[in-house]
Amino acid sequence: MPTEQEHLEMIKAVIIDGEEEEAPQVVKAALDEGVGPLTILNNGLIAGAGVAGQRFESGEFFLPELMFTGRALKAAMAVVTPVLQSQHTAQAENAQNTGVVVMATVQTDIHDIGKNMVSSMLTATGFEVIDLGVDVPIKTIIAKAKEANANIIGCSALLTTSMPYIRDLIDLLDVMGERQRFKIMVGGASVTPDWTAQVGADGTAANPIGAVNLAKRLIREQTEQQGAAAK
């Protein structure tokens, strides 16, 4: 029988290798043999996804590898999440998704590689990502974010002439009185920190790892703001 460490190494390996079919099986085997779900999550799944992310950043992995890792992680999470939820422990509470992010490439733009990378990395680090795809009308993005009670809206546009639709989305949230409800992160080849500030978004990042760090920071800020408002 494999030791706990061996189970975790196997889980890490299938996540790194992006084995979508095998991932749920090795997770189930570990659970059956008594490895804790939180240990599996932190030391197996997220650790494996972290390695995949590092390899992508270093140029050892390319986009498909990252996407396969995202798929394997999703399949594995489908096994481990119900177990975590059924335990109703404080630890399980801590292991809930870091936040809900609605991602989209805005209307008239169909470029999605950057957005897909960020979606994969956010998923790999525990966020619940609702990826609406490309060429998504801003009204749809807002409606889905409200429906999912999202923490963050992530908007992407590569085309300079599609970027103004991100500004329109933020303006629309403003006039709807919903701007404070969501944190907004933006991305795209021509998106700069200056432009981000100019349109009133909450942040941008130069790469997928930076986007994950930004999302974590925005969630922290949101929690603090909500806490302050509650007082």
Binding site: F62, L63, M67, T108, I113, T161, S162, P164
Partner: protein, 459 residues
Amino acid sequence: MTIYSFHDIMDRARSGPYITEEDWDLQQVAMTTRKLVKKYKLTWNPAEIVTDDPGLADAVFEAGLELAQKIGAYSRTTERIIEFEPAELEEGLRRMPQTLVMGEGKDTRTLYARQIMDERLPLIWAGTPGTPTPEALFLPSVMSWMQEPIVDLVTCGSLAEIDGREVRTADPLEIMATRRELQYMHEGLRRVGRPGMGMLAAQSAVSELGDLAVAHPGYLRPCDSHLVPMLNELKVDHRNLARVVNSLEYGMPNASLVCVIVGGMGGDAPGSAVVNVASFILGNLTSLADYQLLHPIHMRHVATTTRSTLWVENIVQQAFARNAPCIIVTDVYPKSGALTREVLYETAANAIVITVGGGHLEGVGAADGNLPNSTGLETRFMGEVGHAVVRQGLTLEEANGLVLKLLEKYEHVFDQSGGNPGVRFDRAYDMKTLTPRPEWQQLYDEVKAEVRQMGLAAL
């Protein structure tokens, strides 16, 4: 069955096998490419950017053809696969134009299918397709390259704003912006005395609206052309097919633009080259293209001047020159911008790779084509380097040696936070005389002498 009609493409886009886009990306493109890279044993050496290995070029071509045969193209609109029989793809390759007359009158030029180390000069297609350009800079900047005697054909950036208003894609202002762009282009050509020069234009037409708005001899003439992108990777959609049929009906050449992401679905450089070959083969049919635009994009650095993007440009050109000669126009999009020494090194390296490998030269889309930081001077340099390569009869091996020396001069820019964008057009050129400012002229003179010293004596 032979593809002769646009109806064939539309019919197949409506009736082909269904597949989700994510499965297309991962199962079809990524997995099949990975297998083909292994099957054909394709590798690349970052120290051999310009390869002298006919077997490798042929293998890349065979793998790309097999990819096109195995998976076809994908319609994003209908989520269907547009399939082709092997015989149709091969017939398509045989039918690719070998020459194409662009422009009119004394400014007419003939594009032709170039060979590896071709003894004929490449055509110099000046401009920065896609670069968002403020309206006030548009005319002077395009004139700065239109006026260069070495330039044969012209293109431009897109108008990001008109009359002080932001232009949005598929917005009514896109129609105005595209028409305004063409008015400026004709005005510029008239002012430099080259009214008949052929154009690749309607760059402000990010959607099909702009294209439709300028299909008129007062804007885009039948002797001009526009581009139809193949979407990443191996995808088309109805909006871009609308551009195709618009120009077919109008009688204007289609350029099939392929911007494979190097490090994307194809993986590393060899897989990306395979995807690029397949994209040309399929785009040739889905766009019924008259010529191919080659513009690999680096996953992180964007520029065409990284080692891997240069390698892809080199091997794809060689693959077609040896196996299916066609007109390839290859883009020069450096990381650096105007008034930097590096933009000239990058331009030189890129122009050498393209010229010796069998392409015509298009650019310079300085600063990743992201900022209006391009001028006529680096375009002149691109043309001069391309002509010098031919005049000197540079071999593939010699070209590689030169490119490696140039890479040493500029590769640090990829590690610089914020890139190396240089300055806007109006800070590098005198806006009254449309000549380079003295400091920009001096940099050009110095780098030109340096590149000559490096071994391009004919420069």
